[in-house]
């Protein structure tokens, strides 16, 4: 936080903060003891978390020029936000940030003039709202999605765009008003631009969000198709980055499983897709044991996508590369009377499909195999 030598003018900073904190207190001279306390407060890690969050809130409410004039650098602010992120990893602290008045100034940092601060603020927001319906609602009510969409679509810094996308994903997952606002805010165009960028991390995050949107919001499939996203995903399925490949394959699998429209409408270039999958099969076939283990997800996705499109198992299965010896078969859930009401999405769905019986006659092969308790037989 504070650097050695030539540190910030804590006296002026505290004076200004106290004077503007509630508008009634008179500024007082900062004694050496007070200065020592404040510096310790900025660095201490044994403070009461809520008290600490209140101090951070006070700093975030201080205008940028005042901080700058007191010698506080953008790096100091980023370090402070790092600490805040650690505190809000606890869901109770995350929800308390709003009640102590810290959420709005944090969202204000999304518009800060320094890219590093914008990125770090987005990362903190992402931590606050991930799997946290209460804070998701609070951020939506504070109109937090708007600066995130602005940063995601047009920030000059790629890192800031990536972090904004991460925050958007956490904010709108399992949050229908968030999804609707994302659509209205032209989020899909920004997703397309992200897929077309040359940053693998940004591509990966965009694909993960796209998978969610395609699965849980069927109305969005047509939007995605109109924007040409399927073609982009097919292209990315050949990416050098394995995470990007996996995420792209997952998105394509979502589209391929769409039973409400003809496959030809959803995946326009069947020949190209087949070439892509064949290429991946060749790539997987040349992997050594360690690589095969690391790319288990990809193996299963390629096989599932092939089955979905061409109604037959891929050659990976013949080569014994979908499930390796000693490896558990894709995990099957225990019998579940209401399982049909909660279909497993995304990768888990791909992985959990039971393999068809190869030795059965063609007529009985169409029947779904019975669900088994625990993992299926290892091949």
């Amino acid at each position: 936080m504070a650097k050695d030598g030539g540190g910030p003018d804590w006296n002026g900073l505290l004076k200004w903060s106290l004077a503007h904190g509630d508008g009634t207190a008179k500024p007082r001279s900062l004694s050496e003891e007070d200065k020592k306390w404040f510096m310790e407060a900025m660095q201490a890690n044994t403070m009461d978390v809520v008290k600490r969050m209140k101090e951070i809130t006070q700093v975030m409410k201080t205008p940028d020029d005042v901080l700058q004039s007191q010698g506080v650098t953008p790096e100091n602010i980023e370090d402070m936000l790092d600490e805040l992120q650690e505190h809000v990893e606890s869901i109770d602290m995350a929800n308390d940030l709003h009640s102590i008045g810290g959420l709005d100034p944090l969202l204000g940092y999304l518009k800060n003039s320094h890219a590093g601060i914008r990125a770090k603020a987005a990362e903190v927001v992402s931590t606050i709202v991930q799997n946290n319906p209460k804070s998701q609602q609070l951020v939506m009510e504070s109109n937090g999605l708007e600066p995130l969409l602005t940063n995601f679509s047009s920030d000059a810094s790629t890192n800031s765009r990536t972090k904004a996308l991460g925050a958007i994903s956490s904010l709108i997952r399992h949050n229908q008003p968030g999804v609707a606002a994302f659509r209205l805010g032209n989020g899909y165009s920004a997703l397309r631009d992200a897929l077309g960028s040359d940053d693998a991390r940004l591509q990966r995050k965009a694909l993960h969000l796209l998978q969610y949107l395609l699965h849980d919001n069927k109305a969005d499939r047509s939007v995605a198709t109109e924007l040409g996203l399927p073609k982009l995903m097919m292209h990315l399925a050949s990416s050098d980055d394995s995470g990007v490949r996996e995420a792209a394959l997952g998105g394509l699998l979502e589209l391929a499983r769409d039973n409400t429209s003809g496959a030809g409408n959803v995946l326009p270039d069947q020949d190209k897709l087949k070439d892509v999958l064949k290429s991946r099969i060749e790539g997987i076939s040349t992997m050594d044991a360690d690589d095969l283990s690391a790319h288990r997800e990809e193996r299963q996705l390629v096989d599932s996508l092939w089955k979905e499109c061409y109604n037959e198992p891929s050659s990976l299965r013949e080569k014994g590369l979908v499930v390796l010896p000693g490896e558990d078969a894709p995990q099957q859930p225990p019998p579940d009377v209401v399982g049909s009401m909660f279909e497993p999405p995304l990768r888990a769905w791909a992985a959990s499909r039971p393999p068809p019986k190869e030795d059965s006659e063609s007529e009985s092969a169409k029947k779904d195999p019975p669900l088994l308790l625990g993992p299926g037989p290892s091949s």
């Binding site: 044994t46 009461d48 308390d96 992402s126 991930q130 799997n131 995990q331 888990a348």
Partner: protein, 503 residues
């Protein structure tokens, strides 16, 4: 246990002292209200910490745990009323980052560094720090002093553990009007005692660190505890742990790096899993995304409810064991249960509820009263009996959580009062032979537990008597009754001086 009546001075609070979190409620404006702390929180982590400059309790203690692990103490409920050599304490030593050493009389003591000096603290002293904070929060909430409390304990707590809990309250400046089962208090919170007619209610409590079940008989506004059972080491945190293990394995497979050795990363992953677990209660899947989790690598994964259930199915089934034991203890079959009350955050897991529903042959269960704060509210409701005339006259009967007995000849455990016997106990007449230790009298050791050898059970107290053997036998019977009615050594000593006197 019958709540004390008589003149009460000032408000009485209900405290739910949980393994993971604690909660306090006060009877106010004709109802039980949960006390909120200075930043609006309603549950306080059951943590205490010691630093070079100060002592921390609750949120403050928990938040710095990752930076000060050896001096941050939690789960003290697992130490209170125990011996260092107890199996449950020995098991805990393998998991706790703080140090526990044997003190006088094999009492487990927590070793912590405070203001640069090494200190030994009893579990009761640590718990009293937490209780003091809750007392202070209640006083701030009410705007006046608080001296009296009703405290909940797990159903599995024995006499020594209850005594230790009372002692911790006394150290914190609280007079304990009653120590009651958390599940029974939870049932009271939801008006079970107002049921018309006779009903059997099963209270299923699945918290962060424990499982407990109580079978209550409700009749004419009175609640009797028919049986209790529980697992003090099984709860929601274990389900979380399975998820963490699952993702650690996945990260290792994908990135070929062992994130398990990165303490900071594990803390982040555990916090993310806790929130994902909540999402899985209402959605069929959840995503976890952690930037630079380990060695600069990002982590993204999804988990479905089915996967979560599969990871934890054996633990879910283990949660059902106390239900079966409870029914057996009460000599009751499943069809006799009229209602099931869910208490504790982990009862929101859909699979857990479904398993219990199946156990009761699909009977419709009460699903609208799951609450993390039920026990504290119920304790406050009961605490209000002596201070608010508007409540009905409520008597809550308790049952012995474990069998009580003495050592017979040869050291065998001679059970005088079996487990799940309602309290107060009517006089029991059992003649047993006791091996004499002294010519002038007999030392009677009273044990609590279910093991066939008396010395393997928990020694509650020893009574030294004098006089003839005939009188000794009579006194031993009386003493066993006294133990349950008065729980006071001094009173026991007084009664021992009587000639053939019985309670």
């Amino acid at each position: 246990m019958m709540a004390e009546t008589g003149d009460q001075h000032g408000p009485v609070i209900g405290i739910d002292l949980g393994t993971a979190c604690s909660c306090v409620a006060v009877w106010q404006n004709g109802r039980a209200e949960i006390v909120t702390n200075e930043h609006g929180g309603r549950a306080t982590p059951s943590y205490a910490a010691f630093t070079d400059t100060e002592r921390l309790v609750g949120d403050a203690a928990k938040s710095q745990a990752s930076r000060n692990p050896t001096n941050t103490v939690f789960a003290t409920k697992r130490l209170m009323g125990r011996r260092f050599s107890d199996a449950s304490v020995q098991d805990g030593l393998k998991l706790w980052p703080f140090k526990v050493v044997p003190g006088r009389g094999d009492k487990p003591m927590v070793a912590a560094s405070y203001k640069g000096k090494q200190k030994l603290l009893a579990a009761e002293e640590v718990a009293s720090m937490l209780l003091s904070k809750m007392k202070a929060e209640a006083e701030a909430y009410i705007g006046g002093p608080v001296k009296n409390a009703v405290v909940t304990v797990p159903a599995s707590f024995d006499v020594l553990q209850r005594r230790a809990t009372k002692h911790a309250c006394a150290v914190a400046g609280l007079d304990v009007l009653g120590v009651i089962h958390g599940p029974a208090a939870a049932a009271v919170a939801f008006g079970i005692h107002e049921i018309a007619g006779d009903k059997n209610v099963l209270v299923f409590d699945l918290g962060g660190g424990h499982t407990s079940v109580s079978l209550l008989a409700v009749a004419s506004g009175k609640i009797a505890v028919r049986a209790t059972a529980g697992d003090p080491h099984l709860g929601g945190e274990d389900f979380n742990g399975r998820m963490v293990e699952h993702f650690v394995a996945q990260f290792k497979a994908e990135h070929k790096k062992d994130v398990g050795r990165n303490a900071r990363a594990i803390l982040r992953l555990r916090a993310a899993c806790e929130q994902a677990k909540r999402t899985l209660s209402s959605a069929s899947w959840a995503a976890i995304e952690l930037e630079r989790l380990h060695d600069g690598a990002d982590f993204y994964s999804t988990i479905t409810r089915d996967q979560f259930d599969e990871l934890n199915l054996d633990l879910f089934c283990k949660c059902l064991d106390p239900i079966k034991k409870c029914l057996t203890g009460a000599k009751m079959d499943r069809s006799s249960v009229d209602d099931v009350v869910f208490v504790g955050g982990s009862t929101r897991i859909p699979r857990v509820r479904r398993l219990i529903q199946d156990l009761f042959d699909g009977k419709e269960l009460r699903k609208d009263i799951s609450s993390d704060e039920a026990a504290a509210c119920g304790a406050a409701t009961m605490a209000s009996l002596g201070s608010d005339d508007s409540l009905v006259d409520l008597f809550l009967f308790d049952a012995t959580p474990h069998s009580l007995g003495v050592a017979a000849a040869g050291g065998a455990m001679a059970v005088m009062i079996p487990k799940n016997t309602p309290i107060p106990v009517m006089a029991r007449e059992n003649t047993i032979s006791i091996q004499p230790n002294h010519k002038k009298g007999i030392v009677i050791s009273i044990f609590e537990g279910e093991r066939p050898q008396a010395s393997e059970n928990t020694l509650l107290c020893e009574i030294e008597t004098s006089g003839g053997s005939q009188q000794s036998k009579a006194r031993s019977e009386a003493l066993c009754v006294c133990v349950l009615q008065h729980r006071c050594r001094r009173r026991l000593d007084g009664l021992c001086e009587g000639q053939g006197e019985r309670a």
